[in-house]
């Protein structure tokens, strides 16, 4: 029998993020000439990935807590497969979240257990007193092997929580157990994740025993709400039955998004953080299972909008999903852009692109954007500036929707000129198909992947019509 350890820290706030596309599983089956297939999985659009989802969930959690980002001690990010196999995953995320330049960061990776690993590592940093506030992010967007069962099961999503010593929900007991076995696998030379196991053997000798052991080690009563792992769409229910008549709350997120990998344990509980009571999150991956209990004493900020942030999405065909994942690629050459990702422009401009910074002229207060390309003020010609973060909200000054774009860009591509809330003006891409845009409409900016340039992801901000806002100008009739 496993003995739980105690994990004394607390959740201050929560944020979640879902990608914009939904793929009906029946479409996948039909693609391979098979009938059937139930439910749907979430798929990243061309401008989304595990980093942009992590940013969105984290930003929502930070906003819900009302804590200035520069006061957060660090970010602990769990992701099965971050965008850079090697590269600046953490510094890009920290820059885009506008964290303090000396903040801590750790990337936990390699299996869907990484989300739990990130949570526990962040909790340790809080418990030790090293940081007072820790940001935990778990996000995943798997690239499933073509024709494998993962295509019908793997989705995408992100969840983020802020941890501190005290808060409306306390972390309690934790139990982990492991067994050195393979389940899903991706080697260094492979781009797609595949399954390397016998389904029945895995279920009976690996998954169910490990999960049952850690799950039953925690104290629970019939009112306890559970988040269970469900990698294939069936194991979750079986596990629930084996654990007895328990209340499972993770099915809602699972049926909306599919298996969200590293994000699944916390994402499954996110909405439940709005109601006082006991919760248990159970995570599995890479031959490790962990169960963690959470005691909610009052609704956690951010939990009330979880459902809203997970629902919606645009249904796509299997072919469109393959194109978005980069698994269906047109032959022929793409337009190579002028700037290699290793160039001086990215060295100098990367931070201001990721953190969306402007340069305010000390003489005339005009905000010059981006700072890197304006050594002198466009307003008065002065040369002294203060670097400031720009607001992520504004209105459309003018826009256009490009109906034809050379590869690698995807049409329709909106381009916008925005008047931001502080009076500064920027130009950027739009994140929608443009049909909802008009001059004067309020928009918000989200971190998106602009392009894969020479194989390297390039990130910047893209505008979306703000969801909840007072529209000051009526859409003109056309």
């Amino acid at each position: 029998m496993s003995t739980p350890r105690e994990c004394h820290s607390a959740v201050l706030s929560i944020g979640v993020a879902a990608p914009t596309l939904r793929l009906p599983v029946a479409q996948v089956a039909a693609g391979w000439g098979r009938a059937g297939g139930r439910g749907q999985v979430a798929v990243c659009g061309p401008s989304e990935d595990a980093l942009t989802l992590a940013w969105l969930a984290a930003r929502r959690a930070i906003t819900a807590a009302g804590i200035p980002p520069e006061e957060i001690g660090g970010v602990w990010w769990g992701c099965t497969r971050p965008p850079f196999a090697e590269g600046p995953n953490l510094s890009f995320l920290s820059a885009a979240l506008r964290l303090h330049p000396q903040s801590e960061a750790a990337l936990l990776s390699g299996s869907p257990h990484a989300g739990i690993d990130a949570l526990l590592a962040a909790a340790d940093a809080v418990i030790s007193g090293r940081v007072s506030t820790a940001l935990v992010v778990a996000s995943d967007s798997l690239l499933p092997a073509l024709g494998s069962g993962l295509e019908a099961a793997s989705g995408a999503g992100a969840v983020a929580v802020l941890l501190a010593a005290e808060g409306p929900a306390s972390l309690g007991q934790v139990t982990t157990e492991w067994s050195p076995v393979l389940d899903r696998y991706r080697g260094d030379l492979e781009t797609e994740t595949r399954e390397v196991y016998d389904g029945r053997l895995f279920r009976e000798q690996v998954f169910l025993p490990l999960c049952q052991t850690v799950g039953s080690s925690l104290s629970a009563d019939p009112s306890t709400r559970w988040s269970l792992p469900d990698p294939d769409g069936r194991l979750g229910r079986t596990l629930g039955e084996r654990l007895g008549s328990i209340k499972v709350v993770s099915s809602a997120a699972r049926s909306e998004l599919g298996d969200t990998g590293a994000a699944a344990p916390l994402l499954g509980l996110a909405a439940a953080l709005g109601e006082p009571g006991n919760l248990i999150a159970l995570g599995f991956g890479g031959g490790r299972a962990t169960a963690l209990s959470i005691q909610v004493t009052s609704p956690v900020p951010g939990s009330s909008v979880v459902q809203q942030h997970l629902s919606g999405g645009r249904e796509v065909t299997y072919t469109e999903a393959l194109r978005c994942r980069g698994q269906l690629v047109a032959s022929g050459e793409t337009v190579e852009m002028a700037v290699p990702p290793g160039s001086a422009m990215f060295v100098r401009g990367s931070h201001e692109m990721l953190a969306l910074l402007g340069a305010r002229c000390l003489a005339c207060a005009t905000v010059n954007t981006p700072p890197n390309v304006h050594p002198t003020c466009i307003g008065c010609g002065a040369i002294e500036f203060e670097i400031i973060p720009l607001p992520l909200h504004g209105t459309v000054q003018t826009f256009v929707v490009n109906q034809t774009m050379p590869a690698p860009f995807v049409a329709p591509l909106p381009l916008l000129v925005l008047d931001l809330e502080d009076g500064s003006r920027i130009s950027c891409q739009g994140a929608s198909d443009g049909s909802d845009l008009y001059i004067g409409v309020p928009v918000e900016l989200q971190l998106r992947r602009y392009a894969l340039e020479r194989g390297v992801p390039i990130y910047g901000y893209a505008a979306l019509v703000a969801t909840a806002s007072d529209k000051t100008i009526e859409r003109p009739s056309t």
């Binding site: 337009v335 852009m337 002028a338 700037v339 160039s343 422009m345 401009g349 692109m353 005009t366 905000v367 010059n368 954007t369 981006p370 890197n372 390309v373 304006h374 466009i378 307003g379 010609g381 000054q397 003018t398 826009f399 256009v400 929707v401 490009n402 109906q403 034809t404 774009m405 050379p406 860009f409 591509l413 381009l415 000129v417 500064s424 003006r425 920027i426 130009s427 950027c428 891409q429 001059i439 602009y450 392009a451 340039e453 390039i458 910047g460 003109p476 056309t478």
Partner: protein
């Protein structure tokens, strides 16, 4: 200051000409202009050659092919206003008394497909923000909301210019179009459809400038030519930083150039008999009318409906058919306008002749931003 005359003009029609080089087209245009002016080898002192894509020493190649080298040959690049810039340099050299006779030449052979331009900061291209027609459309959107322009007006502008192009044997597109046809052409980026955009192409135009007292009798006079760039912070002009200050309070470069040219010519918009103006896209021409003082902002729809700026109207604009009919070979397009004005002011413009035309204005605006305005008088 010496008065300047246009002693001769020549064109290689704008279009697509297969393997023909810019050098060959330039030579043809230049020979025609020299022949009109009666100027021969040794009878001019300098050449200014406008081109944006011509490469190294493009003007030298043209003059070498005609065995006319020996004097200074200077290539000039100022985006779509390159021809206007070259004309200004040539005119200034004569006005100052430095030279008596100067050749001004524009040549271009544009690459096909999306215009890749070294104009854009590379970060914009990487961010997908450098697709050319998008800028025209961004500006068109503002024009529609601020000056009451509709899609119908944009289409009607195309109808007007293409109708004139039918009468121009040097135009690339010589068929009349209807509003419905324009609006049914492929949507490139709203509100601009394919037929509302001029076609990048190839061609050449040449002008022989001469001290007026030396030019053949009846030569058209150059009253003024002016080149201006955008003021800092101008957002939606061809400078397209697309960031920074408001565009509404900053005088656009076309207005700066026009005001300067009017002042130097000693006349105003009311004195003009015809205008050739930059119609890179349909919205660009409509935006330019008030910028040149041809009408008030907001009057464009009414002017289109009444036909005031059509051939036979109060002030014909783009009697040549404009770039929408001729296409736009960057370095040559501004001088193409000059060739049209010279024919009109001489009274030899054939079926599209503007009656009793005495004063004409040519305008270009393009990347840089650069705007040029030239005023000629019969």
């Amino acid at each position: 200051m010496k008065a300047v005359a246009l002693a001769g003009v020549g064109m290689y029609p704008f279009g697509r000409h297969g393997d023909l080089t810019a050098t060959e087209m330039g030579a043809t245009a230049l020979q025609a202009a020299l022949s009109e002016a009666g100027v021969h080898r040794g009878e001019f002192q300098a050449t200014f050659c406008a081109t944006a894509y011509g490469g190294v020493a493009a003007g030298h190649r043209v003059l070498s092919s005609l065995a006319l080298t020996g004097g200074p040959i200077i290539d000039v690049e100022a985006g779509c206003a390159s021809g206007g810039a070259a004309l200004g340099l040539g005119a200034a050299a004569i006005q100052s008394g430095q030279y008596d006779t100067v050749l001004v030449l524009g040549i271009e052979k544009m690459p096909k497909g999306m215009i890749r331009s070294s104009f854009f900061p590379s970060w914009m291209e990487t961010a997908g923000l450098a697709a050319t027609p998008a800028y025209f459309a961004l500006r068109a959107q503002r024009l529609m909301i601020e000056q009451g322009i509709t899609s119908h007006d944009l289409a009607d502008l195309v109808v007007k210019n293409r109708a004139n192009g039918v009468l121009n044997s040097d135009a690339m597109f010589r068929s009349a179009v209807t509003r419905e046809q324009v609006l049914a052409s492929k949507l490139v980026c709203y509100p601009l459809h394919l037929w509302m955009l001029c076609s990048p192409n190839e061609g050449a135009a040449a002008v022989v400038l001469q001290r007026a007292d030396l030019a053949p009798p009846g030569s058209v006079r150059l009253l003024a030519t002016s080149l201006r760039s955008h003021l800092p912070g101008s957002v939606l002009d061809e400078s397209t930083p697309l960031a920074g200050l408001s565009d509404s309070e900053i005088t656009p470069p076309s207005t700066l150039a026009a005001e300067d040219a009017y002042e130097r010519a000693g006349l105003g918009p009311a004195d003009l008999d015809l205008v050739e103006c930059q119609d890179t896209d349909a919205a660009r021409e409509l935006l330019t009318w008030p910028e040149l003082g041809l009408c008030q902002a907001g009057q464009q729809a009414q002017i289109l409906a009444e036909g005031s700026f059509a051939l036979g109207g109060r002030l014909p604009v783009n009697s040549s058919g404009g770039l929408l009919s001729k296409g736009e070979p960057l370095g040559a397009s501004a001088l193409g306008q000059i060739v049209e004005l010279v024919h009109q002011l001489r009274g030899d413009a054939g079926h599209r002749q503007v009656e009793a035309a005495r004063v004409g204005l040519a305008h270009t605006i393009g990347r840089g931003a650069n705007a040029s305005v030239t005023i000629l008088q019969a």
